[in-house]
């Protein structure tokens, strides 16, 4: 199938994560293919968010969190001490569960990343970045006349697309999405999903979701997590039509979780 033809973008090997004395992830091995959408599903607290936070080393922020094992992106190890997280996070954007625009104008929200990474020297370059990012996030037409207004004045769905535009502004290669639609209504959700479909042409996307239907709609590959372990990973088609594991079967048919 097409799975075999894809290039591997991210590869986790024997990944273990601990919060203090509690182990959150056990021996995770997972391959994420370039330029497609990988969905991670599983009941709450199963470790799927913890996993994607390992990919951009967001767990560094948490004092008691310890990560053990290997994650390679394009074949180079990211858990190495020598890796600069600033450069890593420039390459890997992230969108969160709840829209979290900064308390700044729409324009400044997008310009934030490029300023930090020194991507634009002149005003018109920055204008250009802001415009393309907003266009990629399908938000430009709605906000082009009010770029000075605070990002927080937008609706929930618009805020989430603003956050996606913000992640796109530094031209990442990977976008991590942690339940990006859980705080949105169905119409806003449909817009985001449409957007994900469009974005996968240029970006590698990993999405954590609680909605089975969403995983089916947007992803090509699905991983099922349970109690900190990966139970099954396969093409989305196979997972939802013919899972090989009994637990996966029970979860997708709604028998638990």
């Amino acid at each position: 199938m097409e799975l075999e033809n894809k290039k591997i973008k991210i590869q986790a090997k024997n990944l273990n994560v601990y919060y203090g004395a509690k182990q959150a992830l056990f021996n995770i091995n997972l391959e994420i293919n370039q330029k497609e959408v990988t969905a991670l599903i599983g009941p709450s607290g199963c470790g799927k968010s913890t996993f994607i936070r390992c990919i951009n080393r967001m767990n560094d922020v948490i004092d008691i969190c310890k990560v053990d094992g290997s994650i390679e992106i394009d074949g180079s190890e990211i858990n190495d001490k020598k890796v600069d997280v600033v450069m890593l996070r420039e390459k890997i954007g992230m969108v969160f569960q709840k829209p979290n625009p900064f308390p700044k104008s729409i324009y400044d929200n997008i310009a934030y990343g490029p300023i930090i990474h020194g991507l634009a020297e002149e005003k018109n370059q920055m204008d250009n970045i802001v415009e393309t990012s907003l266009k990629k996030a399908a938000l430009w037409d709605e906000v082009k006349d009010r770029l000075d207004e605070p990002g927080t004045s937008l609706s929930g769905g618009q805020q989430q697309r603003l956050c996606i535009a913000r992640a796109l502004s530094v031209s990442p290669e990977v976008i991590l999405m942690d339940e990006p639609c859980s705080a949105l209504d169905p119409i806003a959700t449909a817009k985001i999903e449409e957007l994900i479909d469009e974005l996968k042409k240029s970006y590698t996307i990993v999405i954590v979701t609680h909605s089975m239907a969403q995983a089916v709609r947007v992803s090509q590959k699905t991983g099922f997590f349970h109690m900190g372990k990966i139970i099954e990973v396969d093409s989305t088609d196979k997972i939802f039509k013919n899972p090989s594991n009994k637990m996966t079967q029970d979860y997708i048919t709604g028998r638990f979780g």
């Binding site: 992230m94 709840k98 625009p101 700044k104 605070p150």
Partner: protein, 459 residues
């Protein structure tokens, strides 16, 4: 005697709680259901029993002595120095009067004994009838199975409203008294001279009845009450204090909120907050005895003339006193900035300090400005440190090494000791107080406007 009466009222009130509760329980027969829990009937009866009696008791006790005094003095219209006469009557009545006993005092004393007795008996009668009347009224309502829960809620609401009314009326009273005395002051001293005059020397108007001031003296007084040096001194010392407190307090707050580990935070925050608990008089003598002389010797070794009471010493110590107000508040405010904003910033590759500078501080700004303005009004109102460390001379200066003075210090100086309250000098204290009050009110208004503006922008 009053205490006993009070105890009796409270005892009645308490027992009527139990009585009301048990009466309510008795109502439950067959298909009759109570409209509230039995305890509510207890509360209802207790409140009705206690409150009217307490109000009558309190009101009577408050006005009793004044009414008796007026009644007695109205009988002796030909007596000079009436207050003194009344004092003598009272001490004669109590049996510890040692002066010359006049016939009038004897008569007045008998009258006092009669009125006092009458007042006392009628107080007891009134309180007793209030208790009986209101208990009977409330008892009848209970028997009709009233909605005790709603009624108790209503009574409590009235009680709470009265409390806030007391607070509001007190504020209004204070403002009125400030205003009243200030108007008297401004009838002697021109308000323009007071607000814009640059020389402050109220000693020149030493204890003098305003009505007896001659035109020459009046001209002299004209430039004795220029308050500009005081306002300048106040603003200057507050400025020095804020220069110390804002950076240190803010940075300490940021460290505590963003960098300090949980255990460091747990111990260092209370330690910083101890600074706010030190009595200001301790800061005052620390400033006057340690810091002031230190600056003077330091200045002398550099060839500068430094007054041992200097604006710098007072402002510095005041700044240290204010640090915890800013650090503690900004720590709380920074902590309340949602973690999701920080994560959003980290996720795009920002470092910790970039995140703090560009996301956390702007989000926390309204609160931080609020805490700074709170600290400013604390600095302006602070008295003890400046009394001890800044001096009393009203110099109009911007040299921090010279001594200067503040509004609060001068109010203290004016009112210390025995004073006639109708001299312009003492009335000046009220005028200063009023101006200070207006200035602080204006500051608070600006603060609220600023905070509101930023809030609209950032939330």
């Amino acid at each position: 005697m009053n205490l006993l009466l009070l105890a009796i009222i409270l005892a009645f009130s308490l027992s009527s709680y139990f009585f009301g509760r048990s009466e309510a329980r008795k109502l439950v027969t067959g298909n009759i259901k109570l409209n509230a829990l039995p305890a509510y009937y207890g509360y209802f009866l207790a409140l009705w029993c206690g409150l009217p009696a307490l109000i009558i008791f309190g009101g009577w006790s408050l006005f009793e002595s004044t009414i008796i005094k007026t009644l007695i003095l109205s009988d002796f219209s030909n007596i000079q120095s009436r207050d003194l006469f009344y004092e003598r009557t009272l001490s004669f009545f109590n049996g510890n009067f040692s002066g010359e006993i006049t016939n009038e005092i004897k008569v007045a004393s008998e009258r006092y004994a009669y009125l006092n007795n009458l007042a006392h008996n009628s107080k007891i009668a009134l309180v007793a009838s209030a208790i009986i009347a209101s208990v009977v009224f409330a008892y009848k309502k209970i028997k009709n199975n009233n909605k005790a829960r709603d009624d108790v809620e209503k009574i409590l609401k009235i009680l709470l409203f009265t409390s806030s009314l007391v607070a509001i009326l007190t504020t209004l009273g204070i403002i009125a008294s400030l205003l009243f005395e200030s108007i008297k002051f401004f009838s002697t001293i021109n308000i323009i001279d007071f607000l814009f005059g640059t020389s402050w020397s109220p000693q020149r108007a030493f204890v003098r009845d305003a009505s007896t001031i001659t035109p020459e003296e009046f001209l002299e007084l004209k430039d004795a009450f220029g308050s500009v040096p005081l306002f300048a001194g106040t603003a200057f010392i507050a400025l020095i204090a804020m220069c110390v407190a804002v950076p240190i307090g803010l940075f300490a707050g940021i460290y505590l909120a963003e960098y300090a580990s949980t255990s460091v935070r747990k111990y260092s925050k209370p330690i910083i907050e101890i600074l706010a608990g030190i009595p200001t008089v301790v800061y005052g003598f620390f400033a006057a005895l340690t810091v002031g002389p230190f600056f003077r010797s330091l200045g002398e070794s550099l060839g500068l003339t430094v007054s041992s009471e200097s604006a710098l010493a007072a402002g510095l110590i005041m700044g240290i006193m204010i640090i915890p107000y800013i650090s503690s508040l900004s720590d709380d405010i920074i902590n309340s900035v949602p973690q999701s904003l920080r994560e959003g910033s980290y996720a795009i590759g920002a470092t910790k300090s970039e995140t703090i500078k560009k996301v956390v501080i702007p989000a926390a700004l309204p609160g931080i400005i609020g805490s700074i303005l709170l600290a400013v009004s604390r600095a302006i109102g602070e008295t003890m440190i400046v009394v001890m460390a800044a001096g009393l001379a009203a110099n109009l200066t911007i040299n921090p090494l010279e001594s200067t003075t503040t509004i609060t210090t001068q109010i203290v100086m004016i009112l210390v000791g025995d004073q006639e309250f109708d001299s312009p000098k003492t009335q000046a204290a009220f005028a200063l107080g009023l101006t200070l009050f207006i200035a602080t009110l204006f500051l608070n208004y600006i603060a609220l406007r600023v905070v509101k503006k930023y809030r609209e922008k950032y939330d």
